[in-house]
């Protein structure tokens, strides 16, 4: 008999958002802010764009585990980490959709394709790499450079520089730390009451 998907509800199981989700979201913002600030300061490319941003792993993995709570945490903590690293408030606002998509897309893909966050098969790895490393960061980078251009902070000619900086700077840590996080902690998280099977609970 094939193993049941972690996203499927048990018979009679009722799931509701609770204080645990508020707590995990707030704590995830804290972890993400620390990871993100370090990244923003380590190899800065300007305007909060960095050549190495481990915060993206918290965004992608947090959203896969904790649904919308992780998505919300994922688009709020860059506000703090960017501010601490010296990015203006309006630039952080401009990045909001990028940070939203970077968490939302892998969360949606894992639920839609019923992939296992414990990464038990090649399919799980493939879904994480496609939606949690490549596509989400490409879309995020595309929006970020559009926002920077809209604010008049970068020229059309420098778009490839910032686009590649964002995509690589996010993609590499998302790949390395995302997989490590999923492999190391998913077995624990899927059994934890904070784990979100639907979108909010």
């Amino acid at each position: 008999m094939p193993e049941k998907s972690v996203w499927e509800l048990e018979p009679g199981e009722v799931r509701k958002p609770g204080t645990i989700h508020i707590a995990i979201m707030a704590l995830l913002i804290g972890v993400g802010a620390v990871a993100g600030t370090f990244g923003s300061l380590s190899i800065p490319l300007g305007y909060g764009v960095t050549g190495f941003w481990p915060g993206v792993a918290v965004q992608a993995v947090g959203s896969i585990w904790f649904g919308m709570w992780g998505v919300i945490a994922g688009f709020l903590f860059p506000f703090i980490s960017n501010s601490l690293a010296g990015a203006p408030l309006y630039v952080s606002f401009g990045y909001l959709p990028s940070n939203l998509i970077q968490g939302l897309l892998p969360a949606w893909a894992f639920k839609y394709f019923k992939a296992d966050p414990r990464l038990t098969s090649a399919k799980d790895y493939a879904i994480f790499i496609v939606f949690g490393v490549i596509l989400n960061n490409i879309l995020g980078a595309a929006w970020a450079v559009t926002a920077l251009q809209w604010f008049g902070l970068v020229t059309v000619e420098s778009v490839p520089l910032f686009f590649s900086g964002w995509t690589i700077g996010n993609g590499v840590p998302a790949l390395i730390f995302g997989i490590i996080l999923l492999k190391a902690l998913s077995p624990l998280v899927v059994k934890h009451r904070s784990f979100v099977k639907k979108w909010w609970a």
């Binding site: 913002i29 300007g46 993995v61 490590i180």
Partner: protein, 285 residues
């Protein structure tokens, strides 16, 4: 005998004297100050006005008695930003026949128009960053919660903001604990090359997230045992104890009115086409 050091209060970015004039303002006023004043460098590009804004901020730092060494911590960020903008605009700034070429480095033409735009953007960002540093230097976690509650932001959001800011401090403590444990196992972090340090840092995410998950149970249990729900207390309307400790004063109302006028002025200037970057001295050179 030396002078007694002033009593200090922890802020998000450092320490502030308890009797700093900035604390005469309600936290909500300070929160609005960040939002309103940040609109200035976002909308106004004219470098002269942004230089004036930066000078105004530095005066505010002085008046509020913010420790200016905090700005020094951002020295590298300012320098880096300068290089990034300069490179992005000079090497990737594009070229049009009407541009004035200052120098040619192989196929790259360094033009005055691109350099001018780099200066405009840099000055604009310096002002915006000074506003952000000022806010972080003068604000505590508690101020954010009080400010949000005073602005009628729902309890659950205010609480979450407070807990999120608090959890940054907790994560930093966890981070230091992990590093101390590594040192105790004879890991010499200073001897590691930069790339290894960066890689190592990434690895800290796993224990940090694990600790956050464990802590979420404690926080959630504490909330449940105190009878909290999404809307506040499960029983009748709760008293905002922390909010009752603050009052909006005449000074607050005065600052709020000035900010409203200031914001209206910025919007009007945009609609009327005043203070355009093309009117700046840089464009007459």
């Amino acid at each position: 005998m030396g002078e007694m050091p002033a009593r200090m209060r922890r802020s998000l970015l450092g320490y502030m004297p308890v009797d700093s004039p900035i604390y005469r303002l309600h936290p909500a006023t300070r929160l609005l100050f960040l939002l309103v004043v940040s609109a200035y460098p976002m909308l106004i590009r004219m470098p002269e006005l942004n230089v004036l804004g930066s000078i105004f901020m530095l005066i505010l730092y002085k008046v509020a008695r913010v420790d200016l060494t905090i700005i020094k911590n951002y020295k590298m960020a300012f320098v880096n930003l300068f290089f990034v903008i300069a490179i992005a605009y000079t090497f990737f700034g594009g070229y049009r026949p009407e541009y004035r070429v200052l120098a040619e480095l192989g196929p790259v033409k360094i033009c005055w128009e691109n350099l001018r735009w780099a200066i405009v953007v840099y000055i604009q960002l310096i002002f915006a960053i000074l506003i952000m540093i000022f806010f972080l230097s003068t604000t505590r976690e508690r101020d954010v919660v009080v400010g949000l509650r005073a602005l009628k932001v729902p309890f659950v959001l205010s609480y979450m903001a407070g807990l999120a800011l608090r959890s940054i401090g907790l994560s930093i403590i966890d981070f230091n604990t992990i590093r101390e444990a590594e040192k105790a196992r004879a890991l010499d972090l200073d001897a590691l090359p930069f790339s290894e340090k960066v890689k190592k840092f990434g690895m800290y995410i796993v224990p940090l997230v694990a600790l956050a998950i464990r802590r979420s149970d404690e926080v959630s249990n504490a909330l449940d045992s105190r009878g909290f729900s999404f809307s506040g207390l499960k029983t009748a309307g709760r008293t905002d104890y922390i909010l009752s400790k603050y009052r909006l004063t005449v000074l607050d109302y005065l600052v709020l009115v000035l900010m409203a006028l200031f914001f209206a002025g910025i919007v009007a200037s945009q609609l009327m086409g005043w203070f355009r970057v093309e009117d700046s001295l840089l464009y007459r050179l």
